[in-house]
């Protein structure tokens, strides 16, 4: 007799891809993510009281209203609402290289869209103003950060319309955005970061100079890390430049992996040097990891 598989706590990105609405997707991800946290240290970033809630076993006793207990002999938990002072811009790379998916049905761009939607929902839930910027060789979509009712619909609407194409000039785009985003806030960059780490470091420095708190999510397909092809020979074509190149995967594999690992290491070093929160994500990873990483790093600030 076979044992039924235990239900996973995290949702597979491929499963999320079947969800048609980004809003629903984001809610599913975030609510699921939030409910899974037994002891949420992320109740809110501000101290503005919102409501009481009856105490349930397991709630943090720090938020128990002792005065009310003394008066009424009943247990209530105080709940707070975060401040809305912070604005966050989600920067999404839509270059042609983001349209890559090897074994999964989720492209890097789709993953970036899911991640951006989830982050937007999460931030909106925390009453932060959320903005959206999409770029390839230059910025082609810019939704300024707002915290109004219905803004999320704009965000999700623009997110769903993003199409891959064009060449990347990530560093230039970030420099451009550093000039555009005048108000200090959080900048979340979602890209495959196929650019020279030195140039990226300069753009990160530019954003930091403008007072932005930068978070970098490098989204890659797992095969971009592994270079795992069964073919004896391949004709690889650059998605952006259409340059073609015959390759023997079994011969090139080791060298490629080495160079990719070096690039990721360089990216990590570059991010750390510029006080950028860096996280490498593959399109196989559930979005929860990204959210957890994001919130963990934000909690440490």
């Amino acid at each position: 007799m076979s044992t039924p598989a235990a239900p996973t706590r995290f949702l597979d990105p491929e499963l999320l891809a079947r969800v048609g609405s980004l809003e629903l997707l984001a809610r599913t991800v975030v609510e699921g993510f939030m409910s899974g946290l037994h002891r949420s240290p992320f109740t809110g970033f501000s101290t503005e009281f919102t409501e009481y809630r009856q105490y349930n076993p397991g709630d943090d006793l720090r938020y128990l209203d002792w005065r009310l207990l003394a008066r009424t002999d009943r247990y209530f938990i105080k709940k707070y609402r975060a401040d809305t002072n912070t604005q966050c811009h989600l920067l999404i790379d839509t270059s042609a290289s983001m349209n890559y998916a090897h074994a999964s049905s989720v492209t890097k761009l789709q993953y970036a869209q899911f991640l951006a939607a989830s982050l937007a929902y999460l931030l909106n839930r925390q009453q932060d103003a959320v903005g959206l910027v999409a770029f390839a060789d230059k910025v082609h979509t810019h939704v300024p950060a707002r915290n109004r009712t219905g803004h999320m619909r704009t965000i999700f609407g623009n997110l769903s319309l993003l199409q891959p194409g064009g060449e990347t000039d990530l560093a230039a785009s970030l420099h451009q955005l550093a000039e555009i985003l005048t108000r200090r806030g959080i900048v979340v960059v979602i890209s495959d970061f196929y650019d020279q780490p030195d140039r990226l470091g300069e753009s990160f420095q530019h954003l930091r100079f403008k007072g932005h708190d930068t978070v970098a999510f490098q989204v890659l397909d797992q095969n971009e890390l592994d270079f795992d092809f069964n073919d004896a020979v391949l004709l690889l074509e650059d998605a952006e430049t259409q340059e073609q190149m015959p390759v023997l995967p079994d011969v090139v594999m080791d060298g490629y992996r080495d160079r990719m690992r070096r690039h990721v290491d360089d990216m990590r070093t570059c991010a750390a040097a510029n006080n950028v929160d860096y996280e490498l994500l593959t399109t196989k990873q559930p979005l929860d990891f990204a959210l957890l990483s994001f919130l963990s790093r934000r909690a440490g600030k």
Binding site: Y100, K108, L234, V251, Y256, R259
Partner: protein
Amino acid sequence: MSFLTPLFFLGVAALAAPILVHLVRRTRARRVQFPALVFVRQVPQRTIRRRTLHNLLLLLLRCLAILLIVIAFTRPFFSGGSAARDNSAAGATVILIDNSLSMRRENLFAEAQRRAEGALDEARNDEQIALMSFDKRYTVINRFLTDKNRVRFGISSLGAGWDATDYEQALRGAESLLSEVQTTGPKRIVMISDFQMPGWSQATATFKLSNNTQLTTFDVGGNNPPPNIAITNVEARGVVFGQKYLDNVVVHVSNFSDTPRDHIQVDFQINDQTVEKRDISLNSRDSRVVEFTGFNLNDGTNRCTINIAAGDFAPDNRFYFTLRRETPAKGLIIENASRGRSDSLHLQSALTTDDDLPFTFALKSAGSVDPASIPDYALVVLNDSGPLSPTLADALVRFVNGGGQMIVSTGPRTSPDSFNTTLQQISPVTLREAVQTKMGESVAITQVKFDHPIFEVFQESGRLASANVIGYFRSEPRQNASVLARFEDGSPALVEATTGKGRVLLFTSSLGPSWNDLPLTPLYLPFIHQMVRYAGTHEENAWYGLGQTFTVNKEKEAGPPAIDTPSGTRLSENRITPDGDLLVTAREPGFYRLRYNAAPGFAAVNSDGAEGDFTKLNFGEFMAGVTGGAGGAEGAEANRNLSGEEIEGRQRVWWALLLVALLLLLAESFLARRTKMVKMIG
């Protein structure tokens, strides 16, 4: 390069198989979009090229293996004579052209000249080339030259000769010539011949080429030598004294082919007139002897020929020889007839029974001989003549010193003291005491030199010891005397010595029945005849071999005669002996005409009969012999004009090709497996 079975080249079509497999099974590249191409590009691309090369190499190996297998089946062989040449320095080459008699058949010599010119053309322009011809001897035509035209002229001026072949002498000459040249390049001998078996004998060959000398051979003789019947020898006595030739003229005829021949007519002619014809049959590789005797001869020199009508190689179907009939000289028998009874009855009878003796004898007693008449005789026989008068003894001494021949026999009337005193100057021995055996006892003649002309006729029978000798003189041979036979006790029986220009034979027993029973035995007649012939006959060959030097006697009170060669040209030899005779070296077969004033003479010359044997020599043994086997064979190359099959059989190139093909297939298998494993591991 030639091919024994070129039809197998159709198998080249099999090359399409690996090419098709290569094309069909070639991995087709799938086009895949990949964003991180920038990192792929950083990987050294030579590995990809190497893989491509691997595939091409595999294809190449497969194609090459198939091609080699196909070529192996065509059974290739190298027929060219050009050896691998050292390009670093110009070498030296000796071109040896066989111009022996056998090269006269068909157009062999023209072919040899063509091959020589071919070798000349192949030589580098700065190569030093010498030209030699050879038969039994070698002749240097051109010493080392770089002027090819002069060598070419030398080749064209050559012609086939008449003599036999000796490859060893030729190679010795060529090696000797090569030792003269200073070069750091290769030294090469190009030998062009029909390579017949009689020209080289492994048993007697002692010469080996040095290791740094290459030998290239061209066989122009063809693979199937024509059948040939030849007269290989004629045995005859060159001089006779009677009208009728009583000895045998022995003719040797040989069949050098594997085909039996019947009804070969042997025609014996004297002075162009047929004397007798014989019809013989010869089995394969057979020799027959035909004898002619009892024919009459004219006075003087008779030109004799033996012809066979074999219809093959003509030069060895005729044999030349001469038989000269001379008038017998005068001989004198001196005996002691003091008691009025001749003791020379048996001797006289023996010397008059044969009209083919070189002497006609007169019998006189010692007292009746006029010493002044002694010079009229050519031979004097002292038959137990007893004491001689001093005048007669002096005359005899002068006779011998002047070139006269003398036979002396002792006996009961011989006084040792008187003999030793009067004939001391010319006697081969000093007589000691007379020995008389006891009654009923005798001694035999032993220790006979059977190789001496006198005794050679007794060699087969060995019956000379059957004579019983009861009396003889012990004697002491003088210096330079030769003891031809001894008695049982070791005392000399027959002694020979030359004195002045003459010669004396001395028998220490009697030639009559006084001291032995020799006259009563069948040995007596041949013994006496042999002694007389030996004393009276000067050596004269019935024929001479090519290259042999013979003496042409001068004419009395004149110089040597003019001589015409067999081809009719006047000979210009001028080698004169101190006696005024002429030495002539035989250069061509036939009759040399000696133009004496009195009557013409002739000298017959013949080629070596063995030269008619065109059988191929064992080429493997020859090359191993002259190059010193495996060690000395380095660099030596033998390219005979063999059949393609024979050359291919010797070279067996197809073995090497199949071996290389097998190695290629193994390499292909290893490479393919390695490529596959790399792919699996990757």
